[in-house]
Every structure is written in structure tokens, then in C-alpha cells.
């Protein structure tokens, strides 16, 4: 083959739409880049990452280490700079020291002095409160100086690792100080973390705050539970294979269970968690995103818009149970033994009022009104202080319509299942019936297991690494847009209203699998939750 750099033969796009989309983004062609050159990773362009809320746990345990790991993998550009903003009386060196310790303790890749030295040259700190005009002016000066000193080219990403209540102040400050306006030189991006509001109205309000200052494509909503790797794994399983799609419908699937169980309690998050609860915390965003990925139709292309379109379509087809009293369940953990230790109940946790009605466990039965899924219930559950930490999606298949074996032979045969394990130990399990070795004919459930080889390795990027890199590169595909957030609230709001109207959450002992009402909800449908 004699294809030169300009004419990549053999690359005739299978789907012209995908390539066309890329062309628009690409700008001038870089002669050193070649889509066939799979070794060269995409590296972020010169930029400054400004972080608000640097004193939080998340910044220390996840974000700072992720920045270092990206640098260590050579994915950050020369001159990359990292600016912290907080109400601390720190100099640049103090902040660098804080970052250094966070990196040393939590980074996943080996610590290298050279990488750290180069990274630390670009670390700055600006001290002040969010309402302090002077501090934001100082911040504006600081990043402009970085442009001059380190050639960051006027590209700024703002990471708001702060409670949503403070968004309006910070966003307004960014606008007032002129930081949000690129004036045509460089880009501006803003990263916000879930929760994206606490109901439809507040989500819209939040969006309005951002909308006035940043264009929609500059807003990156991060749901750290849903790493890009997971999303891509699910899409690859469904749409890169021939053997699953034919059975991925009501003809074969009996029901779907989506579970996110945590073994921890609320820990130090009382202030955030009280009044939010399990449903708003994870079902509205994380579990509904998983449902969308499982239930959606094949996107026309693997790009942001096609994917979002399919997710939005399926989310708008989600229906709540007719009777919310029997189709939902919620609970609060009470004192008990979890994982070999005695733990407090939710109402005794520090910072939680004794009459709190916030749920720590929520379960829902949803329907998806499409030709593919009509009549197949999707059961979602999320809870804290459950026996172990586990997130999974289980497709439970219907029983074989006829078994040519005698009833005693298949006594121990359950329903076939395909389980997508998301964490810990990401992988796929298939459960099916197999003959037990021996002279008697006996069929019993066995598991076939696949674990992503990636998951063993230090070199598979952590969710935050990929998210941060996507933000710095400006690659939006898998971040939910406002429309998906609103659809999520549309589904959840009636449930929350119903719960708020009368019931109190049922109690369940810490370390158990959830309240009896959740078991009863399944039992009414003649089904049972998978064991945690």
C-alpha cells in the first residue's frame, strides 16, 4: 500500500456520518496524526485547570491523583497548570505540598520525581472566599500570568468541586471577573459534579445559572460512578457482538435488575445526604443511565449526539408503576452488624436529625414502553450499609418453554442470567444450567465468568482520569446533557412526591439486604432480588 499521509486509503468510512462529524472538529490537519497510528494517544492542548473546592475529600483522593496519573502517562501538555482556589491562607508552595501529599498517597501510577517536578512548576493557589471580588480578580490575574509564563494559550477549565448551593456565586464571579469570557482566544469549560439539582425545578434553575455564562457544549456534567470505561464496555458488549442482540428483548428477557449496593454508611456526608436520599443520590443519575444503556436501541454512530438521542428516547419511554405504594420501597438502616463491625443506625449518625425521613435504601419497578421491552419490568435498587459493595446489571431470562427432562432432574435449575458486573471486579457473568457430573441426570446452575483483564492493571485509567482528559481535550460523548438530567427528574419526581406525602421509610438492620418491603415488592411479582 502506498497511502501517503494525505490519503489514508483503506479508511473508507463504514459510516460516513461519523467521519463527517470528526472533520468538523478537527480543524487544520496535523501531518503527524494519522487515524491508523493507534499508538499515539490524544493529548490535551495547553491549558489551565482551575479547581474550586480543593480542600474536599474528592479533590484530595481522586482529582489531584488523577492529574498526576495523566501527567505520568504523558497525556498532559507541556506547560499544563493547575490552580487551586479556597478559603485557606496558603501560598503556592503550601498548596503544592497538599497536592504532593495527595498524589503520593492516592496516585495509581508509580511516583516519579521528574513528573512531579514538572507538574509542580505549574501549581498555583489563590486564597479567598467565593463572595470576594478581589480574590476572583486575583485569580484572573493569576491565570493570565500563567498564559504568559507557561504558554497555556488562554484555555481554562473550571472544576466546581463544591456544593451546588455555591454554584450561583462562583459562576457569577467567573462572569464578573471576565474569566468566563474567552473573547475568541482559547476555550472555557466548566465541570460540575452530580447531583444536578434535587428535582426537575432545581435542575432547571441550576442549568439556567450555567446557561447564562457558559454555552451548553462547554458544560461537562460528571457522574463519577459511571466511568467512560463502563459505558464503553456495555456498548461494546451489546453492539459489537452478534450473539446477545437477538435475545435482548421481551421475547427472552423476563426482567432486569439494576443494583447499586454500598457497604458504607453516610460517613461524613450527613450535611449533603439528609434530605437527598438514595433515590436522588444515585438512582436519578447513575442507575437510570445504566438502564438507558441497557434498554436503548442501537445508536446510528458511536458519537455524542447519536448516543444521547437514543438514551433520551428510551428515558422518555420509562413508565412508573401505576400504584407507587406497591411498586416502590424505601428504607433506613438501623443499628446492626455490618462486615464484622457494629455500626450505628442512620438516625443516630452525626448530623442527622432523629426524625429524618431521608431514605438510605430505595427500590423501584419501572417499565419501558417500547416494542422491545413492553411488559419487562426493570427493578432498580440502591442502598447503603448493605452486606457488600456491588454494582451490577442482571438480565434474567425466561425459563425454557419446555424441559425434556423430568422435574426432579431440573429441580435446582434456575433462570438463565447475564450479569454485567460494574464494580468491584468489572466483568460479565453468564449463569446457565449444566449437567452435574455423575451417573444421574441432574441439571444445576453454573457460572461462566469473564473479568476485564484491564481491571488488574495499574495502566487502566481510573474513571476520573478519563473524565478529566475528556474535559481537557473537549471530548463530550459520554457526559449527560441537560435533557437527560431533566428526563431523570421527570421519572423520579412523582416517586419523591409520593414518598414525601405520607410514608416513613422502613427500617432495615445494617448489614442486611434491605427492608422487608423491598422483598415484598418483588414477591408480589413472583420474583426475588439477586443475593447481594
Amino acid at each position: 500500500m502506498t497511502a501517503g499521509p494525505g490519503s489514508p486509503e483503506g479508511l473508507a468510512p463504514a459510516n460516513p456520518g461519523v467521519i463527517a462529524g470528526l472533520d468538523e472538529l478537527a480543524g487544520p490537519v496535523n501531518p503527524l496524526r494519522d487515524p491508523r497510528d493507534r499508538r499515539i494517544p490524544r493529548v490535551a492542548g495547553p491549558c489551565v485547570l482551575v479547581m474550586f473546592g480543593v480542600t474536599g475529600d474528592l479533590a484530595r483522593k481522586k482529582l489531584m491523583p488523577a492529574i498526576y496519573d495523566l501527567a505520568n502517562r504523558g497525556l498532559l501538555p507541556p506547560g499544563f497548570s493547575f490552580v487551586g482556589f479556597a478559603r485557606r491562607d496558603w501560598a503556592d508552595e503550601d498548596f503544592a505540598q497538599v497536592t504532593y501529599q495527595a498524589v503520593k498517597e492516592y496516585a495509581r501510577t508509580p511516583f516519579r520525581d521528574a513528573v512531579w517536578e514538572q507538574l509542580s512548576e505549574g501549581v498555583r493557589f489563590v486564597s479567598g472566599s467565593f463572595s470576594d471580588d478581589a480574590a476572583f480578580d486575583e485569580l484572573a490575574d493569576c491565570v493570565r500570568k500563567l498564559d504568559a509564563e507557561r504558554g497555556t494559550g488562554g484555555n481554562y477549565a473550571f472544576y466546581l468541586s463544591i456544593p451546588p448551593g455555591q454554584f450561583p456565586t462562583v459562576v457569577q464571579q467567573l462572569k464578573r471577573s471576565g474569566l468566563s469570557d474567552s473573547g475568541g482566544h482559547g476555550w472555557r469549560r466548566v465541570v460540575i459534579e452530580k447531583p444536578f439539582g434535587h428535582d426537575l425545578a432545581s435542575a432547571r434553575e441550576l442549568n439556567a445559572i450555567l446557561d447564562g455564562v457558559f454555552p451548553p457544549e462547554a458544560v461537562f456534567r460528571i457522574d463519577h460512578y459511571l466511568g467512560k470505561e463502563t459505558v464503553q464496555n456495555i456498548l461494546a458488549l451489546r453492539f459489537a457482538n452478534e450473539m446477545y442482540e437477538p435475545i435482548w428483548n421481551r421475547g427472552y428477557v423476563d426482567h432486569v435488575q439494576i443494583t447499586m449496593a454500598e457497604d458504607i454508611g453516610i460517613g461524613g456526608r450527613a450535611g449533603y445526604y439528609d434530605g437527598i436520599g438514595a433515590a436522588r443520590d444515585v438512582i436519578q443519575n447513575h442507575l437510570l443511565q445504566l438502564l438507558a444503556l441497557m434498554a436503548m436501541e442501537e445508536p446510528a454512530a458511536f458519537d455524542a449526539d447519536s448516543l444521547r438521542m437514543e438514551k433520551e428516547k428510551v428515558l422518555s419511554a420509562v413508565r412508573l408503576p401505576a400504584d407507587l405504594a406497591t411498586g416502590t420501597a424505601r428504607g433506613q438502616y438501623s443499628a446492626g452488624w455490618q462486615g464484622g463491625r457494629q455500626v450505628r443506625g442512620f438516625l443516630e449518625e452525626e448530623g442527622i436529625p432523629a426524625d429524618s425521613r431521608t431514605e438510605t435504601y430505595a427500590a423501584l419497578r419501572l417499565g419501558v414502553d417500547t416494542r422491545r421491552w413492553a411488559g419487562v419490568p426493570f427493578y432498580l435498587r440502591a442502598g447503603k450499609r448493605l452486606p457488600r459493595r456491588m454494582t451490577e446489571i442482571a438480565l434474567i431470562f425466561q425459563r425454557a418453554p419446555h424441559l425434556p427432562f423430568s422435574a426432579t432432574d431440573t429441580e435446582e435449575l434456575g433462570q438463565n442470567a447475564l450479569v454485567i458486573r460494574i464494580q468491584p471486579d468489572e466483568g460479565i457473568t453468564v449463569r446457565f444450567g449444566s449437567k452435574v457430573p455423575g451417573t444421574a441426570m441432574e441439571v444445576r446452575d453454573v457460572n461462566m465468568d469473564f473479568a476485564y483483564g484491564e481491571s488488574f492493571t495499574e495502566s487502566s485509567p481510573e474513571a476520573y482520569e478519563r473524565l478529566l482528559l475528556d474535559v481537557l481535550i473537549g471530548d463530550p460523548p459520554l457526559f449527560p446533557r441537560q435533557q437527560e438530567v431533566e428526563l431523570g427528574w421527570r421519572i423520579l419526581d412523582p416517586v419523591e412526591d409520593f414518598w414525601a406525602s405520607f410514608t416513613k421509610p422502613d427500617q432495615y438492620p445494617a448489614g442486611s439486604a434491605g427492608p422487608a418491603s423491598a422483598e415484598a415488592m418483588m414477591a408480589r411479582d413472583g420474583r426475588a432480588w439477586r443475593r447481594l
Binding site: P5, N30, P78, G79, A114, S459
Partner: protein, 300 residues
Amino acid sequence: MTIDLTDTTTGAIHEALTQARRRMGGPASGMVLTLIIVTDESAQYDAVRAANQAGREHPSRVLAVITRRPKNESRLDAEIRVGENGPGETILLRMYGPLGQHADSVAAPLLAPDVPVVTWWPDDAPPAPRSDPLGTVAQRRVTDAAASDTPLETLLTLAKAYQPGDTDLSWTRSTPWRSLLAATLDQPYPELLSGEVLAEPDNPTADLIAAWLGHRLGIEVRRGESGGPGVTEVGFETPDGKVAISRPDGRTATLSWPGRPERRVALHRRDTAELIAEELRRLEPDEVYAETLRALAARH
């Protein structure tokens, strides 16, 4: 667990593997490939260790083919290691006597079913990897020109025999440099008049980078010599002055650009395990490498 089998056959090795797996509860079920390492007794330790480290990312069956004492009687000794250094299985195959000439007859029955095969020569590369008995079974054949006494000649020999699926670790070593160079040209840049790559005299990676740049940019890229370590600088002459990335210490690179502040970026040299892990990540033919080899051959 380690199992030693003396004067054995592939059938016996299979049986021992199955038993070991059963005893350990099947730890090696998710293997993604078979990696054949063609090596000798003195180099096997480092190579197997690198492969096991890479195996954490790519759980694999590692077959180390070690030829010993060609004049002895034919004999096969096997050392099986399961569940010791992470996932996967490692089998050291020591072949004595004339058997060493027929290593493929031992390796073939031991390839893990269904998954791709990669053959790696950490030391001396065969002149035509694709025609080598242990190369024909593999989708991907990894050599290392830098390990030979005359790296550039070795690379040119390999270029003549190139077949899709061939690759060389001296090309793998160029990835961080190439990625930094590509990132540098992601922003608007002045016209590039000519270029130069500086490195130790016997550094095939520098030859490949120079050939790659020359081919992609359509300008003359010289290959200059420096004291190392490894590649120390890649620079371009432009009408505005010199744009250069230099790495004198093998750890941190400095990007200098006329009229802009100097910027530093970590660019460390990677160990063999990382190189092998990168090689195993993609098993399709590397067309860019093929073009670069051709461009290199045209220069010499």
C-alpha cells in the same frame, strides 16, 4: 505453584496444567493471548519477568522457548508456573539437542485455544520473523533491533523482510516522543524547513523517529549524534527560529519555541514490561510502522 517436569512431552505438560488449574480453582481462565518468548538461559529471567508484568494488563499464557546444549541428546524439560506472578500461566520450555531446531513442534500444541499468538525475540532477531518456524504461528512478531550489535543494519534487514504483523521494540520506544511531537503540532506552527534528531550513535529509535518525521512532514530530517541517554533532542528549523524538544537527562523534556516561554514535560524512558504491554494492546498490523520502515530503507 511451580511444577517441574523433566524429560517430558507436551501431553504431560497439558495434563499438569489442567491439574494445577483444578487445584487452584481455575485462576487462568481469562487468557487473552499466547506469548512465545524465544530466548536463551541468560536472558530468559528478564524477559519472562517483563512478560509477567505485562500479563497483569494482558493475562496470557507465556511460553519461554529456551534452547540449550545443541549437541546433547534431544530432551524437553518444562517448568510450569501458575498463579505466582499475577494472572495467566508461564511455561519455561528448555529444549536440548536437535529438539531445539524443532521448537515449533513443542510450542504448537501448547498455544492457548482461540486466542491470538504473539512471538517475541528479546535478543537476536531472526532475519525474517514471518518465515521463522515460531514466527509463522503468530499474528504479531516482536523483535528488538536495539539488542543487536548493529541496530541500524538489523532494522534494515527487518525492513527488507517486513510482513504485516511485524513490529520492533525500537519503534515502541518512539511512542512517547512521537506523541509529544504530534501534540506539539496540534497548535498552529510556523513552516518547518528541516529537522534533526539527536541520539546516541547506536539508537534505532532515533533512526525511526527521523524517518517518520521526514516521511510525514515531507522535509529533510537529519540524524545527529549525541551522548545520550537515548534520544536527546528533536528540533526543527523554522523561519522564526528553532522549535525543539530536548531531553538531556532521559526524564524531563523541555519544549522551546521562539517567542514563547519554555515548557517542561515529563518524558521518561520506559522499561521492557511497559513496552511489551503496549505491543500487546493492539494486535493488528501497524501500517504506520511499515511506512516508516520503508522510508528508513529509502534513506539508507
